[in-house]
């Protein structure tokens, strides 16, 4: 469905060039869920925006290959991208309060997509909007259609966002932290809804999140990003059972898990913070925070190595030792 190779996004900032996304490869098939996981600033949202053709104007994008259903998007112009956006590929944003227009009714915003892509008449648009509102579990869709976003709760707004992305039956949905702004109970409902709809319409879902619990329950495959690069990728069961990159292992160790971590015990924290992405990138981006870093990690950029079918890791180590060998190589890099 969606094939990406060598996606790079650079942003000019006063201090130089910010490497927001470096050489990302990804693909997602029909009916499949790919989770992109990572922390703020790792480039996951920039990747999503690049796929949607929604990058901010000062960002530059390059890709060796960017294909949606076999159509080449690298060569496509703005208008061709705009024609696909909302129709074949659609995005669910994190915060439904700011991504819905407060001065138009929900129905109005939903129908606009349908009409803009020339899918049918106003009447058909209205019927489709009502059908989809009911589909995402909104009672009384006819009267909800007339309401404005501020009249809905956060959970309902996110449902409206989901219904809206389905207006033209896209084949790829990109969801950027769709449940982060919601309560836990609502989160479970929205995730259920997404996964049910995905199965029903056989869509490819790219789910961007920082929540490893969401990844574990939703993903077929997972892609871990750090500092603009893919550091590990593979089937979700494999990656969670035996992480190959120290960053993935660090992420899994630092969340408390009821029934597994000892209450009150120290959580495995990843010391330090994300490096600056401005200027030339040298060596492994994670080495300053890595407990297993070797002198070789600083020498040259570490390639993403194939480590089995569908499995890759950007680390020089073949396995993560049980105990840190040396301690952080650049221990002084601040905490």
């Amino acid at each position: 469905m969606l094939q990406v190779e060598g996606l790079t996004v650079e942003i000019d900032v006063p201090a130089g060039i910010l490497h927001a996304v470096s050489d990302v490869d990804l693909h997602v098939d029909q009916g499949e869920t790919l989770c992109i996981v990572g922390e703020s600033g790792c480039g996951k949202t920039m990747t999503a925006l690049a796929l949607m053709g929604l990058l901010p104007r000062r960002a530059r994008m390059r890709a060796e290959r960017l294909e949606l259903e076999g159509r080449d998007l690298v060569a496509a112009g703005r208008q061709q991208l705009a024609a696909l956006r909302g129709d074949r590929i659609a995005m669910i944003f994190q915060d439904p309060m700011t991504s819905l227009n407060p001065v138009y009714t929900i129905g109005n915003q939903m129908e606009e997509i349908y009409l803009r892509h020339g899918k049918g008449s106003r009447k058909e648009a209205r019927e489709r909007a009502e059908y989809l509102l009911a589909k995402v579990g909104i009672a009384a869709p006819r009267s909800r259609r007339e309401q404005y976003p501020h009249q809905l709760s956060g959970g309902l707004r996110q449902r409206v966002m989901i219904a809206m992305t389905l207006m033209c039956e896209p084949i790829v949905i990109i969801a950027d932290e769709p449940t982060t702004a919601l309560d836990v109970t609502i989160q479970a409902q929205v995730l259920h809804l997404l996964s049910d709809l995905q199965k029903e319409y056989r869509m490819a879902l790219v789910l961007i999140t920082h929540d490893l619990g969401v990844v574990a329950r939703m993903a077929d495959r997972v892609m871990v990003m750090y500092a603009g690069q893919v550091v590990e990728t593979g089937a979700v069961e494999d990656v969670f059972a035996a992480p190959m990159h120290p960053y993935t292992k660090g992420l899994l160790d630092c969340i408390p898990v009821p029934g597994k971590t000892q209450p009150g015990a120290k959580l495995g924290a990843i010391p330090g913070m994300v490096p600056s992405l401005v200027g030339a990138l040298e060596g492994c981006q994670f080495r300053g925070r890595c407990a297993y870093a070797l002198p070789a990690c600083a020498a040259s950029p570490v390639p993403l190595r194939e480590r089995g079918p569908g499995r890759a890791s950007r680390c020089l180590l073949d396995s993560i030792p049980n105990a840190p060998a040396t301690g952080p190589f650049f221990a002084g890099v601040a905490r």
Partner: protein, 326 residues
Amino acid sequence: MSGETILECRGVGRVFAVRSGMFTANRRLRAVDDVDLALERGEVLAIVGESGCGKTTLARMMLGLLPPTSGTILVMGRPIVEIDRAEIARAVQPVFQDPYSSLNPRKTLASIIALPLDVHGIGTGAERRRRVEELMELVGLPSRLLYVYPSQLSGGQRQRVAIARALAMKPRIVICDEPTSALDVSVQAQILNLLQDLRRELDLTLVIVSHNLAVVEHMADRVAVMYLGRIIEAGATASVFARPRHPYTQTLLEAVLTPDTSRGLPEFVLGPGFPNPLDPPPGCTFHPRCPRAMPACSSARPATLREGGSLVECHLYDGAAAMKAG
């Protein structure tokens, strides 16, 4: 835990008047309703619930920022309304959720952390400066950051600043409102570890308001679950997590997504509607969403059952069902 009660809520309630129009009477919103809680020195209490359940209002009352409209809050045995504002601030301090908006962007770290000392007129300039350096070391901020502005810091560092500021007055109690929900997971772990260390080193009593049950289980000795202003279940964290009694607590626990790839999404979920707090449902306020609701639940409010240190408010346990059936 020493057995010494340091903070106590007795039947605490808070009603807000909500304007509904120029010619209609104000409506009453009961944000917190009849809350009883007692905190012992050195204990960590977690208050959990969905947005709008009144947990932040309760935290604000414990901080003395908002007077209760009924009941009393006792800080170290004295009613909070009788204690001078400055004295409350010396005993109870907050750490807020969002370290991006809770720090003044135009002040340096040195002056942000020293502000409580300035306000209370503690020490000379040099002494304050020394105390600020001490505090920064305590929370793991390098002293080279003394004269930087909050915008130059990461989220985790800002939350460390907020914690340092809260500790400046050597408070007995720190109330953390969602201390890590704005942070990345690796930074969350750093801050949780820091709070644990500080609690031990400084003999702090912590109140953690959170919706993240994994964090609650990790941090808290006791937990209170709130729904629509009332505490509907409370008890030792270990026993509430092992044997949740209230259907709401059970649902909340099932909704926790542990990173377990062998399990799918939790099957059992609540109906969408968190009720309007201006118009709470009759009887048990949870009954419209409750998977185990009985006829009695929509008419009568369940009794509060206390047993040792635990509490539950549900008709499944107060005999209402048995009475109806019998």
